[in-house]
């Protein structure tokens, strides 16, 4: 039990200057005081902030903590339940009803079978980038198109629709638009997905969404599932690829080691996941009174879980603020833990292994085209952290 309770009044809105990969100082400071801090949600509701690895992990595995959106006690009005199909914000048994039909489509083996196709998509992006070089914005040339094309192919989004679709998703995940723009993009995305579901039901094609029309899920539920898969499939991997490249370029000895030894690739991806943890904050709400570290989390109280701070917990990872591609990073919380652990994690791993490898093999002289301090970061308020653009250059052959 901690001697005295450290309190954080709000989630920090900025990272320390010069530390684009580290959780904000206030969160690291909270972790130094102990795994559990007092917290006030933006609506003034009392809550808790958890920054310690062991405690975050145990809360995620604890069925006394709920993921339900309508139980989240963070604002002074009642939140609506998650829309049909959006199983990330549901508990059992609703969660499993949606997740179970999907699990067999994202297995380790099925995702590895996509390796060759992902290599081809990556090579096409690198060809275009090289032809337009010797400089590029790595976000638009590489980090976004690869996961976009991959998840669109898996779900069966027609090629012609992809650019506008990516723009909508960017708008509502980027964290920097007005509420009106956010709602407009969300509505447009929902409308598009409703049409897509209807099209797949009428004329099934060889993709996951068409396969799912063969289940007992309604059109509305399929739309919600598609939204989750597309949003999760685009934005997370895209930001890992761009922020990950930035981190590698800022750690030249690690980059050199990775370049020299392809066998490091799988472990490097795990370490980048740990080190960057771009999906950084999630919530759980206590269904009953729960004792944590000598404090009572009252039933109905919402806790904030800081994944990125937990993944920098010195009690779990030695020298946690060092990017060490050779370390054993397995067990990190970048994909969460418990029943909601990322469904698409095996896809994300294959994409990252292929894409990082191909990028550094293709451009041995890749470097930032601007000083590191000028790389524009997403605001800390965005759901998924990352860079807005990553200007890079290389020596033309």
């Amino acid at each position: 039990m901690s001697d005295s309770l450290h309190t954080v009044t709000a989630l920090p809105t900025e990272r320390r200057t010069g530390c684009p990969f580290d959780p904000p100082a206030e969160l690291l400071d909270a972790r130094r005081h102990g795994p559990l801090s007092g917290f006030t949600h933006p609506g003034g509701k009392p809550g808790w902030l958890i920054t310690g690895y062991d405690m975050v992990r145990s809360v995620l595995a604890d069925p006394r903590f709920s993921s339900r959106k309508d139980l989240m006690n963070v604002v002074d009005f009642q939140l609506p339940p998650a829309p049909p199909g959006e199983f990330l914000l549901m508990d059992e048994p609703e969660h499993s009803r949606y997740r179970k039909p999907l699990v067999g489509k994202f297995t380790v083996r099925r995702m590895r079978m996509l390796t060759e196709r992902i290599e081809q998509i990556t090579a096409d992006c690198l060809d275009a980038m090289e032809a337009a070089g010797p400089s590029a914005d790595l976000v638009t040339a590489f980090a976004k198109p690869i996961p976009t094309i991959v998840i669109c192919e898996i779900l069966g989004v027609p090629y012609a629709d992809r650019a506008s679709f990516q723009e909508q998703i960017d708008t509502f995940m980027g964290g920097e638009v007005s509420d009106e723009e956010l709602i407009a993009a969300y509505t447009a995305t929902q409308e598009y997905l409703a049409q897509l579901v209807a099209a797949k039901r009428a004329h099934p094609t060889d993709d996951v969404l068409s396969e799912l029309t063969d289940s007992d899920l309604t059109d509305e539920e399929l739309r919600g599932i598609s939204l989750i898969l597309l949003a999760a499939g685009f934005d997370t991997t895209a930001n890992m690829l761009s922020l990950g490249t930035f981190a590698l370029l800022q750690n030249p000895d690690q980059l050199a080691a990775l370049r020299a030894d392809p066998a490091l690739t799988d472990g490097a991806v795990e370490e980048l996941l740990r080190y960057l943890s771009v999906a950084k904050t999630f919530h759980r709400t206590a269904l009953e009174d729960v004792e944590l570290d000598g404090h009572t989390i009252k039933a109905g109280t919402t806790v904030v879980l800081s994944y990125n701070t937990a993944n920098r917990d010195p009690d779990r990872f030695a020298d946690p603020h060092t990017l060490d591609l050779g370390r054993q990073a397995t067990g990190h919380l970048a994909f969460s833990h418990g029943i909601h652990q990322c469904l698409g994690q095996q896809l994300a791993r294959v994409e990252m292994r292929v894409a990082f490898r191909a990028l550094i093999d293709r451009f041995p002289t890749l470097r930032l085209a601007v000083p590191a301090a000028e790389v524009r970061l997403r605001p800390e308020t965005a759901d998924i952290f990352g860079v807005k653009s990553l200007p890079v250059t290389w020596d033309a052959k």
């Binding site: 995620l60 595995a61 499993s96 997740r99 179970k100 699990v103 067999g104 489509k105 994202f106 297995t107 380790v108 083996r109 099925r110 397995t330 067990g331 994909f335 969460s336 833990h337 418990g338 029943i339 652990q341 990322c342 469904l343 994690q345 095996q346 791993r349």
Partner: protein
């Protein structure tokens, strides 16, 4: 001397694939439903460390290692 035994609970499994990734010689995923398949109930010594790690990282607590009873046969 008996070896430690593994068990898998397909009701708890959420098909994340951590076991099949971490200890591919011991665990697999059912090609139809994606849920855990045990390839070895008593994994050979060479695969025990990986199996133990898989148990440790399983997100849903669906797999477990049962050490032999002390003094048991």
């Amino acid at each position: 001397m008996s070896a430690p035994r593994l068990s898998a609970d397909r009701e708890r499994c959420i098909g994340a694939g951590m076991c099949a990734m971490t200890a591919p010689d011991v665990f697999d995923q059912d090609p139809d439903d994606g849920l855990v398949l045990l390839l070895h109930t008593e994994p050979p010594a060479a695969h025990r460390a990986a199996a133990r790690m898989a148990v440790g990282v399983c997100p849903s607590g669906a797999i477990a290692f049962h050490e032999p009873e002390p003094g048991g046969s």
